[in-house]
């Protein structure tokens, strides 16, 4: 019966639609649409303001199931112009509906239920389901004290958000009847919304325009606003998800307590920052209903001076935030500080670039940095930053991506600039901007005097260093450390980086990167700092090492470089407790493949005595030496004097300093043999220099001795022989000294290597220990 009645009414309305203005409202007493008159149909003729008080008697009410009621306001008021469902009427009806026990409502025939009403209504009306939802959402947004009266300030704000010119807004207000009424009722509100949509579509603000199918009105900068279906691809899914979530939660709030309605919206709405101003497309923000300091801080970022309502919300939000569990953070304090900061904030936001950090934002970031690290020039460690940014409640993946974007020097710690970048990215992300793949140009760090991102190599840095290629990843990591170290303000005395500490310690012990093994996650406490020159030296060295790390041949380079300087590298002398335990044999064996042949520079085997008779002996020795890959570096000194022959064997002439004092018994014995052998030989008249090129790299060291032709042995006089003997002995002595020096050097290096290795093992064990703790 009721159905038929309703159908009939509708039909009648349909045929009379052109002539009458009839509003069909669906009043529902059931949540979530409680007390809301959903405009099912609004067919109007002509514009006109003014409305009359429709008398209740003129209503046609159709009770449906589900505690809702179709109210038909007939054309009786046609003559008086547009008819709108008065808020008062709705009030009355709502009171009636709610007053009566719900059971009575069931008395109505179960015919049309809400859905069918809506469906049938939908065929008649211009308010689609989507619009319905949207409008009801907006309605909830603007709901204020009176049950059906919308807060005019909120509505005004909403209107402003539609970004229509003020005169259009006035017209809308006028047309929808609120002006006449003095307030926005639900009906007026919905009509206004449709008028806004029409205006945004370019249609004139008239009642006829809203008869057709219009897109949803677009409001910039409003949270909980679903993306209009026609446009706004940006963040639409998340936006709609967030909107739905917000919608549902908003509905829950509506049910719960009307008073609290503004509150849930405040945090989300407060960040209606002018980023939206920039691209209009960023209208929907994938806000989650998170309340934390970052949200408040985002509210700080939003320049809301144009929105008084938002100021109100901001004021309410700190209070709201305080209610949040304190575990949520000191960020609440940040929020309040953000609020305070924001109050005097002027709208200095650059209109078109959301990636630019404004002055206020910079101030805020500075304050935040100071709470984490009082020293603005120092670094924030990764773990500290992680804890801090985790509070922003962004997913870890996004935080990880933000970190990658902002840690430009890849050291696992944040400088002030990097911190600002990261913070700004987080803020932008929370405001709904998708994370960029790479740093936007306006966000890129400007290298300042603090930051030496890429320290140029200096020639002097390379020489005294021996790169321990065995620990390349460590050197790689250490590269980052010295970068951070170098970045520190040299004038600042205290550092809080165990990076530095480790690097320093390793510097003290090894002087080079390769040995330092940095696991960025194992940052320890602060350590005393090192002298500045060391720091400056290290980054350069480390950068250089990083560039050529992982090169299997760089050991040879390092060796050669170590050979080059006449003096040992500047390192504090260590006790050579293990000098005797050098595993030289191992070194020899390693040199077997030929790669490490540089290590195998033997002590300068004494040159064979210049003696014709010794030629075969020498040859033997030389071959033996060659089999051992022995270089005979000091032959240069002697090749002048070595008279003879050594058939075809060339001995390389090398500077005395460029030896590694590796001693080996066989070589020593060989040299001994040589020594003993030569006096008996005959010194050739001409010194014969032989160049022995066991490996090509030996060419680098020292001046290549000039090749001497092989002269046949010549008989020498005794005098020559004794002279040569003396010279040879001097050479032997010199070589021995060189041997000792090099041996000591080698032992030092080995010692340092072992120390560093110990440290590495320690760190690795710590890492292993920490890993089960870190893994979730």
């Amino acid at each position: 019966m009721c159905t038929m009645a309703a159908e009939q009414k509708k039909k009648s309305l349909r045929c009379r639609r052109k002539k009458i203005k009839t509003d069909i409202y669906l009043l529902c007493s059931v949540a979530p649409l409680r007390h809301r008159a959903v405009l099912l149909q609004s067919a109007t003729i002509g514009g006109g303001s003014g409305q009359t008080q429709a008398e209740p008697a003129a209503w046609r009410c159709v009770f449906t199931g589900n505690h809702s009621c179709l109210v038909l306001i007939p054309s009786v008021v046609r003559q008086t112009g547009a008819t709108y469902l008065e808020e008062g009427c709705i009030d009355l009806f709502a009171r009636r509906v709610s007053a009566s026990p719900s059971g009575s409502l069931h008395a109505s025939p179960p015919g049309m239920d809400q859905e069918s009403a809506a469906a049938s209504g939908a065929s008649l009306i211009s308010l689609t389901e989507h619009e319905q939802r949207y409008y009801s959402g907006l309605h909830a947004l603007c709901q204020a004290d009176a049950p059906a009266k919308l807060s005019s300030s909120k509505v005004a704000e909403l209107f402003k958000a539609s970004q229509l010119p003020p005169e259009s807004l006035h017209k809308v207000t006028e047309v929808c009847g609120a002006k006449h009424l003095g307030y926005f009722g639900t009906a007026q509100f919905y009509i206004a919304l449709k008028l806004l949509a029409a205006a945004q579509s370019g249609l004139p603000v008239r009642l006829e325009s809203i008869a057709g199918n219009l897109p949803l009105p677009r409001f910039a900068g409003l949270k909980n606003e679903p993306a209009p279906p026609a446009s706004d691809p940006q963040g639409a899914p998340s936006g709609s998800v967030a909107w739905n979530a917000a919608d549902r939660s908003s509905f829950r709030h509506l049910e719960a307590n009307a008073d609290k309605k503004p509150e849930p919206w405040s945090p989300p709405r407060s960040p209606c920052s002018s980023p939206p101003r920039s691209p209009l497309t960023y209208r929907s923000y994938p806000y989650s209903k998170q309340r934390n300091g970052v949200d408040a801080q985002i509210s700080y970022d939003g320049k809301l001076s144009s929105r008084s309502i938002v100021q109100l919300e901001q004021h309410s939000s700190p209070g709201h935030y305080v209610n949040k569990p304190a575990a949520e953070h000191a960020a609440v304090a940040q929020a309040s500080s953000a609020e305070r900061l924001n109050q005097p904030a002027t709208l200095s936001y650059s209109d078109d670039d959301p990636w630019r950090i404004t002055v206020e934002q910079l101030d805020y970031y500075t304050n935040q940095f100071k709470t984490l690290q009082p020293d603005l020039g120092a670094l924030i460690l990764g773990a500290v930053a992680k804890n801090f940014f985790t509070k922003s409640k962004l997913p870890i993946l996004e935080l990880s991506h933000i970190w990658e974007l902002s840690d430009v020097d890849r050291d696992g710690a944040l400088t002030f600039t990097e911190f600002c970048i990261a913070f700004h990215l987080i803020v932008a992300r929370k405001n709904g901007y998708p994370l960029p793949e790479s740093l936007p140009p306006t966000l890129q760090p400007v290298p300042d005097q603090h930051q030496d991102e890429r320290i140029p190599d200096t020639p002097e840095s390379s020489e005294p260093l021996i790169v321990f290629e065995d620990a390349q990843p460590r050197s790689c990591q250490v590269v980052k450390d010295p970068n951070s170290v170098a970045r520190l303000d040299p004038t600042l005395a205290s550092r809080k980086h165990d990076l530095q500490e480790e690097s320093l310690i390793q510097d003290g012990s090894v002087t080079h990167l390769g040995s330092s093994r940095e696991k960025p996650t194992l940052r320890l406490g602060a350590f005393p700092e090192k002298p500045e020159p060391h720091q400056e030296l290290d980054p350069q060295m480390r950068t250089k090492t990083r560039q050529r790390s992982y090169s299997s041949t760089s050991i040879d380079d390092a060796i050669k470089k170590a050979e080059e300087p006449p003096t040992p590298p500047p390192r504090p002398q260590k006790t050579h407790s293990r000098a005797s335990s050098l595993d030289l044999n191992k070194l020899f064996q390693q040199g077997a493949p030929g790669v490490k042949s540089g290590w195998l520079l033997p002590p300068p085997a004494l040159p064979p005595r210049p003696s014709a008779t010794q030629v075969p002996h020498f040859l033997k020795v030389s071959e033996q030496a060659s089999q051992n890959k022995v270089q005979q570096p000091n032959f240069a000194d002697f090749s002048h004097f070595r008279e003879e022959e050594e058939s075809g064997v060339k001995l390389e002439e090398q500077g005395p300093a460029s030896r590694f004092g590796l001693s080996s018994e066989d070589l020593g014995s060989a040299s001994q043999q040589d020594v003993s052998g030569t006096p008996h030989g005959q010194a050739p008249q001409k010194p014969i220099r032989r160049k022995y090129h066991p490996e090509s790299q030996n060419l680098e060291t020292g001046a290549p001795p000039p090749a001497m032709p092989f002269l046949p042995p010549a008989k020498t006089s005794q005098k020559l022989l004794s002279r040569q003997k003396r010279e040879i002995q001097m050479a032997i002595r010199k070589n021995r000294e060189t041997n000792a020096v090099l041996r000591r050097l080698n032992s030092e290096l080995q010692q340092q290597l072992k120390v560093v290795h110990q440290e590495r093992v320690t760190l690795e064990s710590q890492l292993e220990l920490l890993r089960p703790l870190a893994s979730t």
Binding site: G382, A383, I396, W403, D470, A471, S549, Y550, R771
Partner: protein, 140 residues
Amino acid sequence: MFHICLLMFSPQNYPLYIRSVPSQNELKFHYTVHTSLDVVEEKVSAVGKSLADQRELYLGLLYPTEDYKVYGYVTNSKVKFVIVVDSSNTSLRDNEIRSMFRKLHNSFTDVMCNPFYNPGDPIQSKAFNGIVSGMMVQTG
């Protein structure tokens, strides 16, 4: 089209990162790499001495199968990289493989520097992906 596959394993030998070009044939790659882990372990344990130098990080050609060559690399924290390339790709020299491993190691270190990355998690860094893609395209 060259096939190339890159995998990374944690010290506990579960995969941290898998990427292959082209995307099909992944199963075959995975099988090959899985068996190559044995070889890697063998090499790593053979090096039992306390000194671990750079050269050992690069394990070289683990073994050549009929179709593929498998190269291994282990870091000091026992993270293993394995690269599988097809044998038809003769243009890939040892040096290039080494440089690839070097780059991978650098990128991996960068990933580790990220405090939001827990060691042992699969690597989801976009920067890392970008580097790997670039590398594979370059060699493929």
